[in-house]
């Protein structure tokens, strides 16, 4: 699980990029706390061939699951 809460753009995407490049895992889970990060990660992951599901949590946080 990548915890990118509180990080400014583009750090959440940089963290996801690192995880993807390091081992091209079939599933990547990311936790963020703003809509901008959700959009940016979704765009990046889609471009890398991942499907993205977003689950909004009670405390204005979002859990993203990226799957190949």
């Amino acid at each position: 699980m990548i915890d990118a809460r509180g990080l400014a753009c583009p750090m959440p995407v940089v963290m996801v990029q690192k995880a993807v490049k390091d081992g091209a895992p079939a599933t990547v889970e990311v936790l963020v706390d703003n809509q901008c990060a959700v959009e940016n990660i979704t765009r990046y992951a889609s471009n890398q061939g991942y499907r993205v599901s977003v689950q909004e949590q009670d405390n204005e946080e979002f859990a993203l699951t990226l799957t190949k």
Binding site: R5, G6, L7, A8, C9, P10, M11, V13, V14, Q17, D33, N34, Q35, C36, E39, R43, Y44, S46, N47, G49, E60
Partner: protein, 364 residues
């Protein structure tokens, strides 16, 4: 894999370009429909933080940008109080971004507007901006981070919007302690309602689309993602076509409106602005928008920029524009003090960049 066309970013770019053309026609200085650096500098002078008589005004565009973003964020439920990501460093970086931009005579947004008006001297600034972004990206790849922010009470998020409402009230009642330029760029401005509405519209759209002048080039390099770059290009194309239609396109490398042809220092000034923007996570426009969304760190960054502008004009660090008076050409440029400040800024950014490298969760 299909890539969606980023219509919202393109729309924001087109509207920003059109608003810039309207504002210039309505009285703003040439190629200065918007300039976040220049307008914050004018506000800094307007409230008496610097004494450069030609650049003092409370710019409604800035007020509109912050409040437009604030209203859009509130409507969309995206307004959240957030702060705590190394605010003092952000203040310092903001101040030096301003020093770099004012050496060049324009923020990244005005750089695009200058290029769209045919100002070839701005090419040096564009090249510097790109190099600055590349340096910043290099540090991002090495693990640079200013650390995380935390959710805080909404009152923190309303600080900059509240300051903007206060400035708007001041602008409406014009108390004697404010300073308003009678000559020079500060005296040239669109009427308050036009400037305010332009700011509100662009601010709301920029909040929605996340438009960022530095982010476009950064994401292209980092992720091969052209999403934000389309906004950058849309502004340029809109302004270029608009200036051609209005007969305002003047391709030349001398005596451009509020510009100088000191290429080396335009390059280095914008390299400083570009590098700083990457460290901050966005260009000066984006910082205004984020502050409108409730980001206290961006609010501190804007305050740093206002203070940086005050230093820039109190100590003669800002660039001087080329001038043509009665057929006599006077070359502008960046004075020795400004050159020292730009180099100092680059050194400070290098120190901050190295001191905030994280690897494997540990700070070096």
């Amino acid at each position: 894999m299909t890539k969606k066309i980023p219509w919202l970013v393109i729309l924001t770019g087109v509207v920003t370009g059109l608003a810039a053309l309207v504002l210039t026609k309505a009285g703003n200085p040439g190629n200065m429909g918007f300039c976040i650096a220049c307008f914050l500098r004018d506000i800094s002078g307007g409230v008496g933080l610097h004494t450069a008589a030609k650049v003092q005004y409370i710019r409604p565009e800035i007020i509109g940008l912050v409040l437009g973003a604030c209203i859009m964020a509130l409507v969309r439920g995206e307004f959240t109080g957030r702060a705590g990501s190394t605010p003092a460093l952000r203040f310092v970086i903001g101040a030096f971004v301003m020093v770099g931009a004012l050496a060049f005579l324009g923020c990244p947004l005005r750089m695009v507007l200058r290029l769209g008006g045919g100002d070839l001297t701005a090419i040096a600034g564009l090249l510097g901006f790109i190099v600055g972004i590349l340096v910043g990206v290099l540090f991002l790849k090495k693990g640079f981070s200013l650390g995380r922010a935390y959710k805080v009470k909404k009152s923190e998020g309303f600080v900059l919007p509240a300051i903007m409402i206060f400035l708007l009230v001041l602008l409406l009642i014009k108390p004697a302690f404010l300073y308003f330029s009678e000559t020079g760029p500060g005296s040239m401005h669109a009427a308050l309602p036009i400037a305010l509405i332009a700011g509100l519209v662009v601010g709301a759209l920029a909040q929605r689309s996340r438009l960022c002048m530095a982010g476009g080039i950064r994401d292209t390099v980092l992720f091969k993602d052209f999403h934000l770059l389309t906004g950058f290009l849309a502004i340029f194309v809109t302004v270029l076509i608009g200036n051609l239609i209005l007969g305002q396109f003047n391709p030349a490398n001398a005596v451009q409106p509020v510009a100088h042809h000191d290429y080396v220092w335009s390059f280095l000034g914008m390299a400083l602005a570009g590098w700083g923007s990457i460290l901050l996570g966005g260009c000066p426009l984006r910082q205004l928008i984020l502050a409108g969304e409730g980001n206290g760190d961006s609010a501190v960054t804007i305050l740093g920029m206002i203070v940086g502008a005050a230093f820039a004009h109190n100590f003669g660090l800002a660039g001087n524009a080329d001038a043509m008076t009665d057929g006599v050409f006077t070359a502008g440029g960046v004075a020795p003090a400004g050159r020292i400040a730009v180099v100092l800024g680059l050194v400070v950014l290098a120190v901050i960049s190295i001191a905030n490298l994280y690897r494997g969760g540990k700070q070096k």
